[in-house]
């Protein structure tokens, strides 16, 4: 393709091609500090392309594709090319990755042990992970966490964090502006701004961490903490996994082990400060 780049996030090496220079340059800014190995073959191919040749210039709209294509995925205007790239990368990992069990969950680690947070969009899992990652936690990822079926360890997928709506101002106030991407206003997912993870989080992205705590956060409402049984955590995580079925017995074994060995809680919190305090408190009990 006309423009291309290579990005390694956690264990996944991407090859990204684009009909336009813009999205590649934007990725170049976000991923400049990630390790580069040009001799390494790509695990996943991402394509950002114009459905018709003239749509490169005339009302340019970005279709997402690659190894896996979702037939009815809507294209995005070129001004949201970075979001298209992010969605396309997620799509390839979600549908193609088989080495680990993929959980739709954010994760942070401390002292070699991991806190996993699973929830739907809007649950606050990304914001909590981003904020914890600015404190004395190592950010492992805001979107996907990989579980190694052999060891049971969590592996990081620290892509650029996708901050949404109110979370943008909250996080932007605390970080060096050079670590922020451009503001993508009024996308189908709301306002979006990317945050580059801290250099130390990127430097140790290959280091596994043993899961110690599993949280299912819910943003809004009064403070509540509810211990969750293994069965419920299991079922919720099967729904949060994109490759649980494809992994067969290995996926079942990995997930059973995870919910048996890791205490799980559902938590509600009205604001981030309370959420962080709750997390710290539950963590202190979990690793005691």
């Amino acid at each position: 393709m006309k423009h291309s780049t290579r990005i390694a996030v956690g264990p996944v090496q991407f090859r990204i091609g684009s009909d336009w220079a813009g999205p590649i340059a934007a990725l170049g800014h976000l991923y400049a500090g990630y390790p580069q190995d040009d001799t390494r073959s790509a695990d996943a191919t991402v394509r950002l392309f114009a459905a018709r040749p003239w749509r490169r210039w005339l009302r340019p709209s970005v279709h997402i594709g690659g190894d896996f294509v979702v037939p009815d995925a809507l294209p995005l205007p070129l001004s949201m090319g970075l979001l298209a790239a992010e969605m396309a990368m997620n799509l390839q990992v979600a549908l193609g990755w088989r080495r680990h069990m993929l959980l739709h969950a954010s994760a942070v680690a401390r002292d070699g042990r991991a806190l996993l947070m699973s929830g739907e969009s809007g649950s606050g899992k990304s914001t909590l992970a981003a904020l914890l990652g600015e404190r004395d936690w190592r950010l492992m990822g805001d979107e996907f966490t990989l579980i190694d079926p052999a060891s049971g360890d969590a592996l990081a997928f620290p892509r650029a964090i996708s901050l949404k709506n109110e979370a943008i101002a909250e996080v932007a106030a605390r970080v060096d502006p050079a670590r922020l991407g451009p503001l993508l206003a009024a996308t189908p997912k709301g306002d979006i701004r990317h945050l580059i993870p801290r250099a130390d989080a990127i430097a140790c992205m290959h280091k596994p961490a043993r899961p110690a705590l599993l949280l299912f956060p819910r943003f809004g409402g009064d403070v509540a903490v509810e211990r969750m049984g293994e069965g419920e955590a299991f079922v919720r995580l099967t729904e949060a996994s994109t490759n649980y079925v494809a992994l067969g017995e290995a996926g079942f074994a990995a997930l059973t082990r995870l919910v048996r060995e890791t205490p799980s809680f559902g938590i509600s919190y009205p604001d981030s400060a309370t959420g962080i305090a709750l997390v710290e408190q539950l963590w202190a009990e979990a690793v005691k």
């Binding site: 390494r40 790509a42 690659g66």
Partner: protein
């Protein structure tokens, strides 16, 4: 050299994987994925020395293919438990059949739907049994439903409500309106049993079906994989039985598939280096269009040669139904858009 050429050279063992540079693997992997052959390639190169990241990806693919194959066989077992007690005898087709019969092309082969063949007189019972046992119609409109029932070689696709897997119940191997009408009764009647107790087509019929699927039906999308099936099947069957090619020739003629099987054999020779007996080792100038269509992928895994794709798409419909019917069908489809 183009990546698609490298891919077929690796499969045909014309090229040593050690000779690939670091930049060569991206295209090979991308195209193999697009052709649903990545796990096939991974199995084919299992014993060779590969760069570490390629080796790791290929190991993932082999493990995933093993799970997928077990799931496909389980789906066949589900069909058996549904149909067998009622005495509806069915024959496994395509990927599931290759896996059940433990044929070499099953190594890493992607299996989509469960394809089974039942005798025409049992098709209604097979459908009722499937509906009783949790399969349901994939939602579609009345025209599509009637189209399948009146003109196709299979029932409208059914999907299992809890396992989310599709089953295609065939009563023959080409559409009823196709210019060629294979002998469906002979296909079922001469089927053989696998050690696991499933019925599959006998070797010559299996190859005929593979060629029919590749050459006579459809627009050659995914053709590299079907041709790989054909290549592995004919290579293994002729190694086990020196008279295989003769039997195949007779059987193909009986089904009206002589031209399709001969063309598939020539393409397997040209693309995967198959060795053919003298009376099969022919040349046909029109093969070049098939070769170009099969190899129409660029290094990013994108389909190329748009006009050629369209031509093969039109050809597939031309073979499938007589012109007046085709016109009416396209008119209806167009109005529904």
């Amino acid at each position: 050299m183009s990546a698609v050429q490298t891919l077929i050279d690796l499969l045909a063992e014309r090229r040593d994987p050690a000779s690939l540079g670091p930049g060569d693997w991206d295209g090979v992997i991308g195209i193999a994925r697009a052709e649903a052959m990545l796990a096939t390639l991974a199995c084919h190169l299992e014993a060779t020395d590969l760069p570490p990241h390629v080796a790791a990806l290929f190991a993932d693919q082999r493990a995933a293919a093993k799970v997928a194959t077990a799931q496909a066989i389980w789906e066949a077992e589900m069909a058996r438990r549904s149909l067998d007690p009622a005495g509806v005898e069915f024959v496994l087709l395509k990927g599931t059949a290759y896996a059940a019969a433990e044929l070499s092309c099953a190594a890493g082969r992607q299996i989509g739907d469960l394809d089974i063949l039942v005798p025409w007189h049992d098709i209604g019972r097979a459908e009722n049994l499937a509906l009783l046992d949790g399969w349901e119609w994939v939602k579609q409109d009345a025209y599509d439903d009637a189209y399948y029932r009146d003109h196709m070689h299979e029932l409208p696709p059914l999907i299992h409500a809890s396992r989310d897997r599709m089953i295609d119940v065939h009563h023959t191997i080409l559409p009823r309106t196709h210019r060629v009408t294979p002998d469906a009764l002979a296909l079922v009647g001469d089927a053989i049993k696998t050690p696991g107790g499933f019925r599959v087509l006998n070797p010559a019929d299996m190859v005929c079906h593979c060629a029919a699927h590749l050459i006579a039906d459809g627009d050659l999308q995914g053709g590299l994989r079907n041709l790989w099936d054909f290549h592995c099947l004919t290579r293994d069957f002729s190694a086990a039985d020196p008279g295989f090619w003769t039997v195949l020739g007779r059987r193909a003629a009986m089904h009206g598939l002589g031209a399709a099987v001969h063309r598939a054999a020539r393409l397997a020779r040209d693309i995967y280096g198959a060795r053919l007996p003298a009376d099969w080792d022919r040349h046909d100038p029109t093969d070049i269009w098939f070769r170009r269509r099969l190899l129409a992928r660029d290094d990013w895994g994108r389909a190329t040669h748009f006009a050629l794709q369209q031509a093969f798409y039109i050809r597939s419909h031309w073979l499938r139904m007589p012109p007046v019917m085709l016109a009416r069908h396209l008119w209806t489809k167009w109005r529904k858009r």
